[in-house]
């Protein structure tokens, strides 16, 4: 019995260490554009869209995000332009700053409608 308690304890500790490190690695804090440019891990930035955005030759979606201070940053997203993008009041981009642009893995589109019940009215992408 004692051995199994020790083993059980070790398993729990290992699981905790694993869980906490996974949590630490995947935390994506909200940061300013300047902080995002300093290039640390995955972060989220929030801002307003300038222009309409466009696809490049490899069909990646490009657009410019402007924050409250007027700072601008180019966002690249490997995927379709999210639905409701054109009427969005703001966009949250989750990703990392690399090679002069912000490579977004996920875009959350904020819509002005009152209710957004039971379903992403678009904008969620992997």
């Amino acid at each position: 019995m004692r051995l199994s308690y020790i083993l059980g304890g070790l398993v729990i500790i290992a699981a905790l260490v694993f869980g906490v490190s996974a949590l630490g690695k995947s935390l994506t804090p909200y940061v300013t554009f300047a902080e995002a440019r300093s290039g640390r891990g995955p972060v989220q930035v929030h801002g307003y869209i300038d222009g309409k955005g466009s696809y490049d030759a490899e069909n990646n979606f490009h657009f410019t995000l402007v924050d409250d201070r007027g700072d601008r940053m180019e966002i690249v997203y490997k995927g379709l332009k999210p639905a409701n993008f054109d009427q969005a009041t703001g966009v949250v981009a989750v990703g990392q700053y690399q090679n002069g642009v912000f490579q977004a893995k996920q875009l959350l589109v904020k819509c002005p409608s009152k209710y957004q019940e039971q379903g992403p009215a678009g904008g969620q992408s992997k």
Partner: protein, 772 residues
């Protein structure tokens, strides 16, 4: 309006009165129970009438009611008009309350001496929901009478989405029952009777919560077009967490019935599951996470009330648990690791761990926000932490059916596991040969197919025991299939963005995609974009759809082609109509409309059909009759769009008499009555028309259909299990509570001394035959 508000006030009053009488009844004054029941019926009656009244307001387009205005409109089909009832916060609270009261009516049909305590705690939950209805009433008036409502989100105009919320709320409302029964059991010091009574309710509510989750995922996959079914979004997570603890509770209940252990675990799990339901409502409806989710409600003032009730429920449960903790009979949970007891304990632990992880991950924006900068965790956190748990769960699933309670001989295990193990190994090798070679994916495939095979074998072994015994095994086959589906469709999902142009085939994943002219709109306003898809000899038409609500807001749904082993999923993006480019002399006109072009004003009068047109074999042509005005002079011209017998374009342009403009009819849209005109100077080269284009994202989703099939099998197993537990509960004579006097404690069971145990070690009423 006044009637609705009055009904809700009557309901609240009746709920409080019923709770007070039940409280007295719970303290032994049973003569109060008829009054309590009477008040409960008034509560239920008033609530159901309020529902009917709200439905009446919605169906009658009473847009002066704010809720009706924001959630419906005149052009909605009746089917979707009904779903406006639960499209917003207020209506969904009302639905939740009404469903809860429906459960209450079923509870009262069975006279049981648990009634006063159960109903007391159950009523507290209903009072909580009623208070929410007073925070924001569905009957609040706007102060004006708008001619039409704001309408229902078109993406919610989907049959799955009509069913999804009510089904989820059947689950939410029902999970109040194990909570009420657990607290009643603590109150009555009956630590076994509560779980037998709560069991079928728990299974029922858990099943519906599960169906709700599955429907939500299926809807997301089929209509949203981001290629997935689960995004680890707070709204999804917060429903998943109580489902996971509910699953743990159901397994704990089996152990408590069979072995008399896990009593404390089950009480805690029952209470926690309900508290997590209220926490889910808090996270999604208070607006705390509105920055972190694509689809939570904004802050509408519910937050502090929900927090208050959560604290109330939590502290009441904690107080009762602490007070009784030491007298709850405890029993050693397992003797050896190779036993069904240990397997169940592991299952409960795995599910509880998974629930904890998901709950913590979902709550990180709150915790980190308290410390400073609010952060959320990436999806990778949930995947990385849940994957090893799922692997472990699959291992337990494959061993559990062949394990006996208490202990099992190794020879027996080996005999029973060898064939399924060999089968699983074969499947895993086949999967590896197909090119899926990530080690942990193969491990997952191995354990999941092992679990499926062992459970299928057990199903065959025990089928003589009656259909009702098979629910659990069937459910676990479903879990195994689902696991493979999840791993395959997420790890090996591939996607690529392609721009399709009309008349030019594009390639993706070996398929050739050719865009055809846009069709529509349908009666409901949708357009569809036929894409000829071909690979080798195979060809089919994919039809992603668009719903342009306004110039900026376009809803899109994907086309999903299902194959046995994978889905080909085509999600539409931007659509650019073809024709002459606007900056090179193109003009679109509605019938009767006038538009300026340079010095000219063009007015579109009507269509004209020249002779020899419309015949089946002959050439066809359509003219647009236009009035063109320049400096007070008006000419009438009619450029023509036509085809000859072979289907080739044969247009006739019209030159203005001033000799400075040539007008051609480029395209017509008969359903909308619009035309596109080409305008240029005589002698200038006609600009080449631009082909219509559509940007699409094409996904390959291997094994996704195993996921849906697995969920169906899991649900079927759950239905059978529910039937079984319901029959068992009926078989227990009602009115019997306290400790059933069973035969001797089983051999080798060690009873841990409980400090203040006034009752002998209880045994389940009917020890089940030892299953193998």
């Amino acid at each position: 309006m006044i009637l609705g508000t009055m009904l809700l006030m009557i309901a609240l009053l009746a709920a409080v009165v019923a709770a007070v009488y039940y409280f007295q009844g719970a303290r032994g004054r049973t003569e109060m129970l008829p009054y309590a029941r009477g008040a409960f019926y008034v509560l239920a009656g008033a609530t159901f009438l309020a529902c009917v009244y709200l439905l009446h307001l919605i169906l009658g387009h009473q847009f002066q009611v704010e809720y009706v205005f924001y959630n419906s409109s005149r052009d909605l089909e009746p089917f979707y008009l009904i779903s406006s009832f639960w499209a917003g916060q207020e209506g969904s609270f009302l639905l939740w309350l009404a469903l809860g009261l429906a459960y209450g009516l079923f509870l009262l049909r069975r006279k049981d001496d648990f009634e006063p305590q159960v109903m007391l705690f159950f009523l507290l939950v209903q009072i909580f929901l009623l208070v929410m209805l007073f925070v924001r009433s569905p009957f609040r008036l706007l102060g004006e009478v708008p001619p039409d409502g704001a309408g229902l989100n078109p993406l919610l105009q989907n049959p799955w989405m009509v069913l999804h919320p009510p089904i989820l709320f059947v689950g939410y409302a029902g999970l109040a029952l194990p909570f009420a029964y657990a607290l009643a059991g603590l109150w009555r010091r009956d630590y076994d009777g509560w779980h037998r009574r709560a069991w079928p309710w728990t299974l029922f509510a858990w099943l519906f919560l599960g169906i709700g989750l599955a429907l939500g995922g299926y809807w997301a996959y089929e209509t949203l077009g981001w290629g997935g079914y689960w995004g680890w979004d707070p709204v999804e997570n917060s429903s998943l967490v109580p489902w996971l603890t509910g699953t743990a509770l159901l397994h704990g209940m089996i152990v408590q019935k069979a072995r008399g252990s896990l009593r404390r675990w089950n009480l805690v799990l029952a209470v926690t599951t309900f508290l997590l339901v209220t926490y889910a409502a808090f996270l999604t409806r208070s607006g705390v996470l509105s920055d972190f989710s694509v689809h939570t409600f904004g802050n509408e003032g519910y937050g502090q009330f929900m927090l208050a009730f959560m604290v109330l429920f939590g502290s009441a449960s904690a107080w009762l648990l602490v007070k009784r903790w030491n007298e709850i009979p405890a029993r050693q949970i397992y003797e050896t690791v190779i036993s069904r007891d240990f397997a169940f304990l592991l299952t409960v632990l795995i599910l509880a761990a998974s629930a904890t992880i998901v709950a913590l991950g979902t709550s990180t924006p709150i915790f980190t926000g308290l410390l400073g900068q609010p952060s959320k965790v990436a999806e990778s956190f949930y995947n990385a932490t849940n994957a090893p748990l799922a692997l472990l769960l699959a291992l337990v699933l494959s061993l559990c059916p062949v394990l006996g309670w208490r202990e099992s001989s190794k020879e027996h295990l080996f005999r029973k596991l060898s064939i399924p193990g060999a089968l699983a190994a074969l499947v895993t090798i086949a999967v590896a040969l197909m090119g899926f070679t990530l080690p942990w994916v193969l491990a997952c495939v191995f354990f999941a197919t092992f679990a499926v095979a062992v459970n299928v074998q057990t199903l065959a072994d025990v089928r003589s025991g009656g259909l009702w015994k098979l629910g659990g095994y069937l459910a676990h086959i479903g879990v195994g299939l689902t696991l493979v589906g999840i791993v395959g469709s997420s790890v090996y999902s591939q996607s690529t963005v392609v721009k399709l142009e009309e008349g030019k085939a594009a390639q993706a994943f070996g398929y050739s995609l050719a865009l055809e002219p846009i069709q529509g709109p349908s009666a409901t306003g949708w357009y569809w974009l036929p894409i000829q898809v071909s690979r080798g000899t195979e060809r089919f038409v994919a039809e992603p759809r668009l719903f342009p609500k306004s110039e900026e807001q376009i809803y899109r749904t994907p086309s999903v082609k299902k194959y046995l082993l994978e889905d080909l999923y085509i999600a539409p993006g931007d659509y650019v109509p073809g024709g002459l480019p606007a900056d090179r002399g193109a003009l679109e006109l509605q019938k009767g409309e006038s538009k300026p072009y340079g010095e000219y004003t063009l007015h579109f009068l009507r269509f004209d059909f020249p002779p020899h047109s419309g015949g089946q074999a002959g050439p066809t042509a359509v003219s647009a009759v236009l009035e063109v005005t320049r400096q007070g002079v008006t000419w009438t011209i009619s450029p023509t769009l036509g085809f000859d017998q072979s289907g080739k374009r044969q247009d006739r342009e019209a030159a203005l008499p001033d000799g400075k403009l040539v007008v051609s009819l480029e395209a017509i849209n008969a359903t909308q009555g619009t035309i596109a005109l080409g305008l240029r100077e005589p002698g200038a080269v006609k600009p080449a028309p631009v082909a219509a284009s559509l940007t699409v994202e094409v996904f390959r989703k291997p094994a996704i259909n195993l996921l849906w099939a697995g969920l169906l099998v899991l649900g079927l197993g759950a239905v059978i299990a529910f039937q079984r537990r319901r029959e068992e509960t009926r078989a227990v004579p009602s009115g019997i509570s306290g400790v059933p006097k069973g035969p001797e404690a089983p051999r080798g069971v060690v009873t841990r001394a409980a400090p203040k145990a006034p009752i002998p070690t209880p045994r389940p009423a009917k020890p089940r035959a030892r299953r193998r």
